[in-house]
Symmetry: C2
């Protein structure tokens, strides 16, 4: 006969780490949550699962960073909808060797980010998982009557990004090739990969300013996201290589390991910047909305007719078709097993 | 270089299997969902993750049954709160060998159950998982001003169950020992384990009837659930062995593999019947509410003072302390690896 320990000591520690929810929550941080919303609200629900060996590698990532990232990604999804995130529900699949302090640190990382965006972690659940740690976060947010989609881009719109592209890929590739210790002075690329910043405030500011016709985010690669927007909007797109906002830190990192910053920018993914399309005559409004937050809006191309397809004008002036590709080192490693 | 295939063909097939959502959903079955709720609603959110080798075994369970069960469990949680479930969000961690037809069948199983309870599957997400299939379902339901908790039981209340106990453990143990083929004429115990029925209607009927002071469900074992209710309500409990509603099929199955139906009933779990406490003078109302659904309410004991602890009066009349135990064959197997 074999009995399962009830793990209630661990659950108590988790509750402490998660902290007390706000008044909006009647009961929470158990396996169920009772929550309220303002009247007649449109809810936006987003879910994200991260799996060890597929989406993250604990050899160069701390528990706290994992907690941050596992919440940052669904928060970024909420941003693409112009939502105000409210509640997070967390399910963890824990491998056997994992210590309580690790789990507590993970929740601390999550809580720090949740606090900054006024999100309540209303339920937590842990189950055993045979070989890979997994973190599932479901977010419930409040939408307004207007919300963003990927399907509103129109010919002539400008394509723009709220920040750098390729930085996360620089971080990932350098972490894999050089290890974390060697990157002690490369904070920017490491942070971009391990602790991405969800663009919630930027999204809400853009929603208020009007003029954004479609929105996505750099979760998959820029090339894949552009394909997604173009397909749903039934348009084409032309990106300008020379306009890609690649950070000097990324260029430097590429030199370090003899890689291509352009490839990172186009096929890397995980920067979690917003990708927007804007009517040209409303660009100034969108820009000044972000400027108030101290944030840029980089124009990187424009929406074309559908027949023209998805293209990239390279720095040498040549225009080439762009493929919707994405590096996937983790998946590759997995297949080798 | 290695590129991930976008899996959009699979996603399309999943969308077909999930079917079109009702009018309540503005956008859905992608990775985000936009949904609405009646004004000033109290939301009840419940999440559940099932992991292969921990919570289920595909050697004797079909994809369709897995889909059913993965939704049935969070539905049962919604029932314990007196909620009307509305929306389901599904995340799957898929191992590499898994075929598209398997995934589609899983969603069909989920959809069948969802339809019966008028639940919309509003978002689906799939990620690769290295060694174990996992299914995470988050449910959002509508609560009313009244809702059930585990903390309202009072001394003198009766303890009752909405159906049999031990049937699921009978199914699990026979499936493991004898295999599914040998159980072709044991539909009741097999179904109890593989396709449990969430008691949503029963819960809503009991909520309406009033008189229920606390509610739980048989997800963990009866002994664990009684402990949970007693601890939160700060009371004790006395169960009567002779009153445990054990089905003849369970007794027969126990004979088949020389096991104890009493142990299955007390420590087995996964029956997903509701466990309620009721003031004695309101038992008739609660019973007639369930009778209208053709369902029983079996009284199995009563709530006592806290000092008396949690006890079982055995069939021979002796009263013994009851331990909050649960069998966990899967976890044991896991530890052996």
């Amino acid at each position: 006969m074999d009995y399962e320990s009830d793990g209630s000591a661990r659950i108590r520690k988790i509750r402490e780490a998660v902290g007390r929810p706000s008044r909006r929550v009647f009961a929470g941080v158990g396996e169920e949550a009772i929550i309220t919303l303002p009247p007649a609200t449109r809810l936006i629900a987003t879910a994200e699962t991260l799996v060890e060996g597929v989406h993250f590698d604990l050899t160069y990532m701390t528990a706290r960073e994992l907690g941050h990232k596992a919440l940052a990604i669904p928060l970024s999804r909420q941003a693409t909808q112009g939502a105000q995130p409210l509640y997070a529900m967390v399910s963890l699949g824990l491998t056997q060797g994992l210590s309580d302090p690790f789990v507590i640190e993970l929740f601390r990382g999550m809580r720090e980010l949740a606090k900054r965006f006024r999100v309540d972690i209303v339920s937590t659940q842990t189950v055993p998982s045979p070989t890979a740690l997994m973190v599932n976060v479901t977010l419930i947010g409040q939408g307004s009557k207007r919300s963003f989609t990927r399907s509103g881009a129109r010919e002539g719109d400008l394509i723009a990004l709220t920040g750098h592209v390729g930085t996360s890929a620089a971080g990932l590739n350098c972490l894999k090739k050089l290890g974390r210790d060697a990157l002690y002075d490369q904070e920017e690329i490491v942070k971009a990969h391990l602790s991405p910043e969800p663009r919630i405030k930027e999204s809400l500011a853009l929603l208020k300013s009007g003029g954004v016709t479609a929105m996505g985010h750099l979760s998959d690669s820029l090339s894949k996201e552009i394909y997604e927007v173009a397909e749903r909007s039934e348009v084409g797109a032309l990106l300008e290589e020379s306009a890609l906002p690649i950070s000097p830190a990324t260029v430097q990192a590429a030199r370090l390991i003899d890689a291509s910053p352009r490839a990172w920018a186009l096929y890397g993914g995980e920067d979690y910047e917003l990708l927007v399309t804007v009517a040209p005559h409303r660009l100034a409004e969108a820009r000044s909305a972000l400027k108030r937050l101290g944030k840029p809006l980089h124009v990187i191309g424009r929406i074309t007719g559908k027949r023209e397809g998805i293209r990239l004008r390279a720095s040498d002036g040549e225009t080439l078709p762009l493929s919707p590709r994405q590096w996937s080192h983790f998946v590759r490693r997995l297949k080798k097993r």
